[in-house]
């Protein structure tokens, strides 16, 4: 559901930084999804010797990948927003269309 919240936020906002934030929210949603996918009732952390039954570790691994990729995208996106702001002088995405060069 967090994914959907992020998605809705993106349609709602016009601020380009907020859009990147919404991307972050969607990323968190995916992380939650993966944690819940790996969940098995009554199981402990996936470390040998820690508990008898452990949750599925594979989604956790994929989740780590997702976090890193999210981080990378957000870093690049924020850098782009910074340069956009320098060029256009505004953060409003609807204004970017007007300034054809």
């Amino acid at each position: 559901m967090t994914i959907l919240v992020g998605l809705y936020g993106m349609t709602r906002t016009k601020n380009s930084i907020k859009m990147i934030m919404c991307l972050g929210i969607m990323g968190s949603g995916v992380i939650l999804l993966f944690v819940s996918v790996g969940y098995i009732p009554g199981a402990g952390a996936p470390i040998v010797g820690h508990s008898a039954e452990m949750v599925d570790p594979l989604p956790h691994t994929v989740m780590l990948t997702a976090i890193v990729i999210d981080l990378a995208t957000m870093a690049l996106g924020l850098a782009l927003v910074y340069h956009l702001y320098e060029e256009y002088g505004t953060l409003d995405v609807t204004d970017y269309l007007v300034g054809e060069d």
Partner: protein, 90 residues
């Protein structure tokens, strides 16, 4: 404004349909086949932390790609600065 309300209703509908359609339940959830295999062969990797074992051994290629993604992003941020400012030093 009307667009926003419509989108909001659509998102609500998506959420409802997803919950209805998927019927996610953990009642009879078992370990997947892949997971069983990992647990059996965990000894070979030497790592007690299963996540780490998968990350660095079974799926090291994925982690490699992931490291490259981070590398690209950082190099990209730096190169982007060079492109936009037209800076050709360093």
């Amino acid at each position: 404004m009307r667009k926003d309300i419509c989108t909001f209703l659509l998102v609500l509908m998506i959420a409802f349909l997803l919950v209805q359609g998927l019927e996610l339940s953990y009642e009879d959830k078992e370990d997947s086949e892949v997971d069983e295999y990992y647990k059996e062969h965990q000894e070979k990797t030497g790592a007690d932390n299963m996540v780490e074992a998968i990350l660095l051994d079974f799926r090291a290629y994925d982690t490699f790609g992931e490291v490259m993604v981070l590398y690209i992003a950082i190099a990209g941020v730096i190169i982007l600065g060079k492109i936009v400012t037209g800076d050709d030093q360093s």
